[in-house]
Symmetry: C2
């Protein structure tokens, strides 16, 4: 550096360090000036209320937020999700009854429901025998006679539309470390299925067979085998190219091999047991409905910690995306559900796509799924992008999380633990949004799946949550 | 550069580019001279006869070696290994008879056999009812009454000791593109097993059960399912953290899920079918004995191409490592089997280890196994090293191979095809030896597995092969 900076400026020209907007750097570079560009965005995207809230939490919180978060994270990491059985929703899911339809995401009224969710509700009502035709089902749903509620209000989660009705079989997953349970229906496969909004005969026949044959057979085999420790299974499948959300080939394989020796012994016709095994073999997503309640019961144990900014729920209903914070139990912060960027099945395009939908983002909330994409480079064939992108996604998530899993490790990152415990403050501060990979439903009821991809949640939900947290705690 | 180099040398001191031995660079650096070091080794390690052979092949070959190699590689890449059945060795393996014992690696006489191979031979003779005790078996093996031969001379391969006797069940894998077949016994699991040289009651009971119950049940299920296209299965498992040799969890899972729906339907006691499925679930290496004959029938189709330097066999018998070239069919080039560098099971050390043994290196010969380690970062927990090492191993193998697989792709390398078709010339020229990962047997007969690791073949076999090739063709 010259002792007389102005002299040297005119003698040597400027050397520029450019912060933020890249186009200034580009202009200077065009003029031949040496310029280095540094990525910079103002905290909270420059949102004054959010910045003030972050400041107040940092300087004037009535609680020790870091200690509260440490406890939330400790609980998530200590979870022991264990598959203990298969039951019927009305017998095991708290508050379930014949005229209640549970759905994915934050609460939403019939009139505001997206196409695929309406389709799934109609299909569920037909499945329950409450309506005979789609038209009857639609009328019944609109009549006010049917109660709707979020799966999350009933210790449950559902992929895509996430519709659960009273007679559906459900996985029962118990968090052995804390005693809480979570429930989820059994996975129907891809394509024309209820959770993607289809409701026709094919869907109805499959749902009936799952209730009457598949579920009782699996339930008996599971009883013979004994509970399945999901922490161990998920840890293994992350070494086998699954990420715990949209790539489930290793997980489904693991469930098949663990149950098969017992399935053979079930007291049922051979042909039905064989059909069950063939169904599992043909449906690589079968495992998803086991990781979801596993994730759900892990993060549920971290809910309600006074003063914690850890996100314990993320969920979408196709209309809105919602989150809940540990320290603000029961309160949803919502924003409009986003459009998914992804790959489409033959014959479909982005014009066919419903908006972001489903509770499966509970996997990301617990630190796997999109957060563990580096473990599953082959997933890019399903959701788009390159294996290098998959690694970048995971690396970015370490910036908005508080801990690394001891159990769930990523081979490609030298067995680093998955990024776990999303801090809403960090999301707002950095502007880095949780990475979510997801299926894409058709926007109209009755069609089904059209693709899969990556989606960004709406930024406002994180800012609103932090502002509300500051109001409550600072 | 100065116009008067000597002047500038004395004025500015030397700037050194150091080739080869690194210690010269280190001395210069210590003196403060600017020095850049370039890795360099003389071709063929400076072996004058090998260099001369390479020169003669390059300048005076009577055949178009590159065209011949292109044909070898085309055949390896076009292979369609397909599991078509399970048979009994004496019924299906060419030349098999009651007093013949097949073994891994190049041919070896009883007196020269390593401990684990002697143990496995003894166990095989007891299994056949030709001897009652280990002492009797040892005496019989030494008596001259028993014929020994390399599995490879009978279209077969065997892991570790690779012992196959007449009544053992074998996988039948057919190369649907060329019509040739390969055979391999069924995998017994890890630990105290015949192929690692154990022969006691536990081993005998398992072998009898495999012959009398497991194999007939699997054979019937396979018949019901129909042939298994191994190209598709291997391609899938490389997306699931297997590399096709020592990590087989995805492969074994795949075989279980493909066979399970049919196993249920087999006309056998439920309890025996359940036992078969439990055995498969407890033995992640079960798939190895399917990849091996798949690899074998792929490279066998490339053997005997006039003028080809492609390596079509690599194999070890615990005493010697041997290779065969496509263009020199039937000729083995052998050298002393190496010591394996690896991880040991609790209670064992390198002092317990037998030398490199087994035909499983046929997987590497065909372009998977060690050559595909980048697909299986988690394998380092079994064989040692880091995930970055696993990637380096694969990258190095591209330097000694002629092609990249269209089918077998590595997610972590952006779906690059596995390095396929080892050119003996390239191995000699570069000094880069084929990367092999392997199990480690105890050096004494009767013990079993003690660990797993990586091993380098002896360099001389490649040089000897190239010299012999030059004598024949140039």
């Amino acid at each position: 550096m010259s002792a007389r900076p102005l002299d040297s400026l005119f003698a040597e020209g400027p050397k520029v360090l450019n912060l933020g907007l890249e186009k200034f750097a580009a202009s200077l570079a065009r003029e031949g000036a040496p310029v280095a560009h540094v990525e910079w965005k103002p905290p909270a995207g420059g949102d004054v209320r959010a910045i003030a809230a972050l400041d107040r939490i940092a300087s004037r919180a009535r609680v020790d937020v870091d200690a509260a978060n440490a406890e939330s994270v400790r609980r998530i990491l200590a979870a022991k999700p264990t598959v203990v059985g298969i039951g019927v929703a009305k017998d095991v899911v708290p508050g379930m009854h014949r005229k209640l339809v549970l759905h994915a995401g934050p609460p939403v009224a019939w009139k505001d429901m997206s196409g695929p969710m309406r389709g799934a509700v109609m299909g569920g009502l037909i499945h329950e025998g409450l309506a005979k035709t789609p038209a009857e089902a639609e009328a019944l749903a609109a009549s006010g006679e049917i109660e709707f509620d979020s799966c999350h209000h009933h210790d449950s989660v559902g992929p895509m539309a996430g519709v659960m009705t009273a007679s559906m079989p459900v996985w029962i997953v118990e968090n052995k470390a804390f005693g809480n349970r979570a429930y989820c229906t059994l996975n129907e496969g891809l394509g024309k299925v209820l959770r993607y909004g289809a409701y026709g005969d094919e869907v109805q026949e499959r749902l009936s067979w799952m209730r009457d044959s598949l579920a009782p057979i699996l339930a008996e085999a599971l009883k013979m085998r004994g509970p399945i420790d999901m922490t161990t299974v998920i840890a293994q499948v992350l070494q086998m190219g699954d990420e715990g959300h949209n790539r489930n080939r290793a997980g489904t394989s693991t469930i098949i091999r663990e149950l098969a020796p017992h399935l053979v012994m079930v007291d049922a016709p051979k042909s039905e047991i064989s059909k069950a095994l063939a169904f599992l073999n043909a449906n690589d997503h079968f495992f998803l409905n086991l990781t979801m309640p596993s994730a759900k019961c892990a993060v549920d144990a971290a809910a309600g910690i006074e003063g914690s900014t850890v996100i314990t729920t993320m969920a979408r209903n196709g209309t809105e995306f919602g989150i809940r914070l540990s320290g603000l139990p029961g309160r949803w912060f919502t924003g409009p559900a986003s459009v998914v960027e992804g790959l489409y099945l033959p014959g479909f395009t982005a014009a066919d796509a419903a908006r972001d939908i489903g509770d499966s983002v509970i996997t990301e909330t617990s630190g796997i799924g999109g957060f563990a994409m580096a473990a599953a480079p082959a997933i890019v064939k399903f959701v788009g992008g390159s294996p290098a992108d998959a690694i970048d996604v995971t690396l970015r998530m370490y910036e908005i999380t508080l801990a690394e899993s001891e159990q769930y490790r990523i081979p490609a990152l030298d067995f680093r633990g998955t990024p776990t415990g999303i801090d809403a403050r960090k999301v707002v501060e950095t502007g880095i949004l949780p990475a979510i990979n997801t299926g894409i439903a058709h926007k109209e009821p009755g069609v089904g799946m059209v693709g899969a991809g990556l989606v960004k949640p709406p930024e406002n939900v994180f800012r609103d949550a932090v502002i509300a947290f500051a109001e409550r705690y600072a």
